[in-house]
Amino acid sequence: MRFRTFCYFWSEALRNIRRNVNLISLGTIAASLFILGAFFLIILNLNHLTDNLTSRIEIRVFLKDGVTARDREALKTRIWALGGIKTIDFISKEEGLKRLKEQLGDDEGILTAMDFNPLPDAFSIKVAKPESVKALASRIARLPGVESVNYGHGLVERLFALVKAVWVITLALSVIFISAIIMIIGNTIRLTLIARRREVEIMKLVGATDWFIRWPFLLEGMLVGLTGAIVSAVALYFLYGFAVRRFMSALPFIPVVTGGVALRQLCIGLLAAGATMGAIASVVFLRKYLRA
């Protein structure tokens, strides 16, 4: 290909973009990718939230009365040896009562009414994989010096059901939303190009090869997709930053993804998606008119 021809392709693409028809597609693509991006951010936050919830899962191992500090160390080593454990913290009966009071809050009156501490010493264990909690707990229960083991009476199971359900739903929604958006973008580009069907036909009659016709359209699709993506990415970036600040000041106790790497990756992904979709949509569409 001559350099001149290469320049021709680019100047054609740029000139066509300047015509109003494509500005309309651009708006549509920007809006679509914005929705897509917003949806991904919602998924990202749900993911973050469930991660956060599962990270709070712990196994509480209550020790038999009268276990010595030595036995305790030995037991700790044996528990470590079971594997899959992130941290083990010792919680003395005093510490345990303090925490229970905090947990009960206003209801702590019940405990202050008691003049002795009914709690045993305990280990608090965090596991590496939340799914292994149940198996691990039952193995720990069989170790000597362990009175009983508690890992949340079905709370863990419920949490997993929640996480799974959230994932199934977001996955189903993503699939539907993403296909809808792709359809919208594809159709927009198709409509834009249908308006120029005659042009393609004339070019063919004057002896242009398929690729000669295709290149400017391809570049154009890519640039329009990319520009739309840039608009949506910029909008998303700033709006999300704003939303996160509002959310965090209103609800400091709910964890949100503050942006940073994830947000930047999403924006880059949007740009790539915009350019690719624009190019693919152009080519796929042109097939129809070039084969004729």
Binding site: K204, L205, G207
Partner: protein
């Protein structure tokens, strides 16, 4: 150069546009195609550039059967043939200059050549000062002349001219005819469909008359009609 063997064309709606046409046109000939409206002249030309495929028969251009061309070969066929379309077929979003330059760009001509040839040919058709206008800003005859300029700019070996003077006054028409004669003198085969009696009668070239899809007359130094 161009040979048709028993070529017929029946459009999907049942209209018979050509019915068993046999024809032989040699390199360098100048042929007028005459016949009433709807006779099949445009269909004949569209067949040579493989825009329309014959229902039966063979169309051979430059020794190649155009019916059997592979899709990627078609553009190369069309580049050796300049076509002045009856309805002009100008690219609506390109200026006059770019419309003409397009025929050179598709054959990957060097920029220097394009910058030299396009203004020259626009000058020949009398549109040098309209180079930067869009087709819709031109009169009917001016559009037709852009179409002529595009067809001749890359010195094709065959020139198909479908009613190239239909929108032109007599003086301009005659100017175009002189241009075509000059091109023909350089060896280009020219096939021109026309209803212009005066031009046909003056030129004294081969005349092929089609009626209802059949060749009814083929004279080497003919006139427009058998009698007027």
């Amino acid at each position: 150069m161009i040979r048709l063997h028993n070529v017929s064309k029946v459009y999907p709606n049942g209209v018979v546009a050509l019915a068993g046409v046999d024809l032989r046109i040699e390199r360098g000939e100048f042929v007028f195609l005459v016949g009433p409206s709807g006779a099949g002249k445009t269909t004949f030309m569209n067949m040579i550039i493989r825009h329309v495929l014959p229902t039966s028969g063979q169309v051979i251009v430059n020794g190649k059967n155009v019916v059997r061309l592979k899709p990627w070969e078609v553009p190369y066929l069309r580049r050796t043939i300049g076509t002045i379309f009856q309805d002009f077929k100008l690219l609506p979003n390109k200026t006059v200059y770019d419309n003409v330059a397009f025929a050179l760009q598709v054959i990957d001509a060097p920029g220097r050549e394009i910058r030299k040839k396009v203004p020259a040919v626009l000058d020949l058709v009398g549109l040098a000062d309209r180079a930067n206008e869009l087709p819709h800003q031109l009169s009917g005859g001016e559009q037709q002349r852009v179409s002529i300029a595009r067809a001749i700019v890359n010195s094709p070996t065959v020139l198909l001219a479908d009613e190239p003077t239909g929108n032109l006054d007599f003086d301009t028409s005659w100017g175009i005819m002189e241009l075509l004669l000059k091109i023909n003198g350089r060896g280009t085969t020219i096939i021109m469909a026309t209803h212009n009696k005066m031009i046909v009668d003056r030129m004294k070239k081969r005349v092929i008359e089609i009626d209802k899809g059949k060749i009814v007359r083929d004279e080497s130094e003919g006139v427009y009609g058998r009698e007027v």
